[in-house]
């Protein structure tokens, strides 16, 4: 009797004791397969000869060599630098300026904040569609300015191979700068008033207070914002596609569009994989040290 009862309750007890782990396990399984497993899978593919269908003929690093020798990849890397630097720089500058201005006891602050931040709620495809229309020389801003009497006004960047990437910058900054503003504003609101008061009693001017006292205190936010924007820049795909389609020609190619074109349109699975691996490595090079330092600094006060 006793042993039978024990036999019955043992699985139930086991289930109860391990219920939390059981609840968590689907997520762990999904993560291991769909994140880590897929990363390994793609990495393996990048060392093979795969074209249309995955195969496992080992070719070492030669797909990477092909990617780096590819003229479109060269353009993509060049564009990533231009886009990344300008996108991050301009978003930071505009976001910081807007945050400081909004922090001066502004009437209607709530409405202004809402206006600066709403582009962040839009899809990149919508943003791309809107800006494509505004940047269209025959119908958009150029036509508007000419209609206002500036007969020689020229703004045809979107169809100009050398300038098209700057159109992507404009649309990207329009979309993300409000978000940086939100981060900085939250940071400014977190600064203790007394510090500022003390400085102004000491006779420091307002610009000086900002430069010497407030901005240095916002350093963690600078770091976070740069990391997030860099991460967004590397992943950017939808915006370029909707705005320029990677063109004119392949003038606005980015690593993300290179990956998509080679994988899905040109039947170069292995080359696509190699470019994806390089995107992952770039993101990891930025995110891993950042996350590591974040975790360490957030753990320190707790223990």
């Amino acid at each position: 009797m006793e042993t039978e009862a024990r036999r019955q309750t043992r699985p139930v007890l086991w289930l109860q004791r391990n219920l939390p782990k059981i609840v968590l396990s689907p997520t762990i399984a999904i993560t291991i397969v769909f994140v880590y497993g897929f990363i390994v899978w793609t990495t393996l593919l990048s060392f093979t000869r795969s074209k249309t269908i995955p195969n496992f003929d080992w070719v070492g690093f030669s797909q990477y060599a092909r990617v780096w020798a590819h003229p479109r990849w060269e353009v993509a890397m060049h564009n990533l630098w231009i886009f990344g630097l300008l996108y991050i720089g301009l978003c930071m500058a505009i976001g910081l300026i807007l945050a400081i201005l909004l922090d001066q006891r502004i009437r209607q602050e709530g409405s202004l904040r809402a206006i600066y931040l709403y582009p962040m709620a839009l899809s990149f495809i919508v943003t791309g569609t809107a800006w494509k229309w505004m940047l269209n020389p025959g119908l958009g801003i150029e036509k508007l300015m000419r209609g206002w009497g500036f007969a020689d006004f020229k703004f045809d960047w979107i169809i100009n191979e050398d300038m098209a990437i700057y159109c992507v910058v404009i649309a990207g900054v329009w979309q993300a700068s409000g978000f940086v503003m939100a981060m900085f504003l939250a940071g400014l609101r977190g600064i203790d008033d007394d510090i500022v008061k003390a400085a102004s009693i000491d006779g420091a001017s307002l610009p000086r207070i900002y430069l010497r006292i407030i901005l240095p205190m916002l350093r963690p936010i600078f770091l976070s914002a740069v990391v997030i924007l860099a991460h967004l820049a590397i992943k950017s795909y939808d915006l370029v596609l909707a705005l320029t389609g990677g063109g004119p020609g392949y003038a606005t190619e980015l690593p993300s569009t290179f990956m998509y074109v080679h994988t899905f349109l040109r039947n170069e699975l292995a080359m696509g994989s190699a470019s994806a691996v390089m995107m992952l490595l770039t993101v990891a090079a930025i995110m891993v040290p950042y996350l590591y330092s974040e975790m360490r600094s957030s753990r320190r006060p707790a223990h």
Binding site: L19, K21, P26, L117, A121, S123, W133, L188, K235
Partner: protein, 297 residues
């Protein structure tokens, strides 16, 4: 900084003289105009007949107001070769977002609960493993995912896209709920345990009733991301099964004889409306999600 604290202006900054006030308000107003311009231009263009678009400028008010482009975008415009408007794709996205948001939020809530209130050896490591999924560029999973979806018979289906969005959304929802439940008092959980409450009872009776704000944050974040996704939609769907963003891109970039810009703009606004509504009505939670999802990476 765990929470966006920008709601409380309290500082003694911003006295200055009248001229500096004029400059500040002038700059703020100028930026507001720049940010609003694309939306205004889209709206105006969508309400004009085509000849007026070619004749006038982009910020001129319509001389002849029309909602015909909106009707056409909804019911008639060609997406690829199929010409019955964007309405089918809109519903695809609604379905996809509904299930994707619900499932990923529910799973995230349970994960957050386990990771904070039922801690075990190695749980931080597991959380770190999950969290990494927030940051991968999705290009790295596209090829295996396409293969697996094909094998499961889910290629080009809304179910397949829901699966993908749940898979890659869980990392974020787990992060949200974990951070929220981490500061939920353990004493309440322990007291409930003393009273004999077990795993599910504690979750449903103690934690869930006070999870309203974080559920809002998680759902808004997931809805915005899933609705706005293009990469997965473009990679794993074809034709009629495509989500709204993919359909919009097809409408706009289909080269037909005459480009109906007013219809394109109407379609773009329709595609933007759901997330804009969420932003207008749940803006506070939207911002909190942005902050939690990024700052506290």
């Amino acid at each position: 900084m765990a929470e966006a604290t920008w709601e409380t202006p309290k500082m003694a900054r911003g006295r200055g003289n009248r001229w500096s006030r004029v400059v500040i308000y002038g700059l703020l107003a100028f930026f507001a105009l720049v940010y609003l311009l694309p939306l205004v231009v889209m709206l105006l263009t969508s309400l004009k007949p085509l000849p007026e678009i070619y004749a006038g400028n982009m910020i001129a008010l319509p001389q002849e107001w029309t909602i015909e482009p909106w009707r056409k975008a909804w019911e008639e415009v060609c997406v690829g070769l199929a010409c019955h408007g964007i309405k089918g794709y809109f519903w695809n996205s609604i379905k996809m977002a509904f299930f994707g948001v619900t499932i990923s939020t529910a799973v995230g809530a349970l994960n957050g609960y386990v990771l904070t209130k039922w801690r075990f050896r190695g749980d931080s490591l597991l959380f770190g493993l999950i969290l990494f999924g927030c940051f991968i560029p999705f290009q790295i999973v596209l090829i295996p995912m396409a293969t697996i979806l094909g094998k499961l018979g889910l290629a080009s289906s809304t179910t397949g896209l829901v699966l993908v969005h749940v898979t890659y959304g869980i990392a974020f929802t787990t992060l949200f709920f974990r951070n929220y439940y981490a500061v939920f008092p353990d004493e309440l959980v322990k007291a409930a345990m003393m009273d004999g409450a077990r795993f599910w009872a504690i979750f449903f009776r103690i934690l869930l009733p006070s999870s309203g704000p974080i559920i809002a944050v998680s759902m808004i974040w997931q809805f915005t991301n899933i609705w706005n996704d293009f990469l997965f939609g473009a990679s794993f769907s074809t034709g009629e099964s495509a989500p709204m963003t993919v359909a919009l891109n097809n409408v706009v970039n289909t080269s037909t004889a005459e480009r109906e810009y007013n219809v394109h703009m109407a379609a773009a606004i329709i595609a933007a409306l759901p997330t804009l509504m969420v932003y207008v009505f749940g803006g506070r939670y939207f911002v909190r999600g942005l902050m939690a999802g990024s700052v506290k990476g």
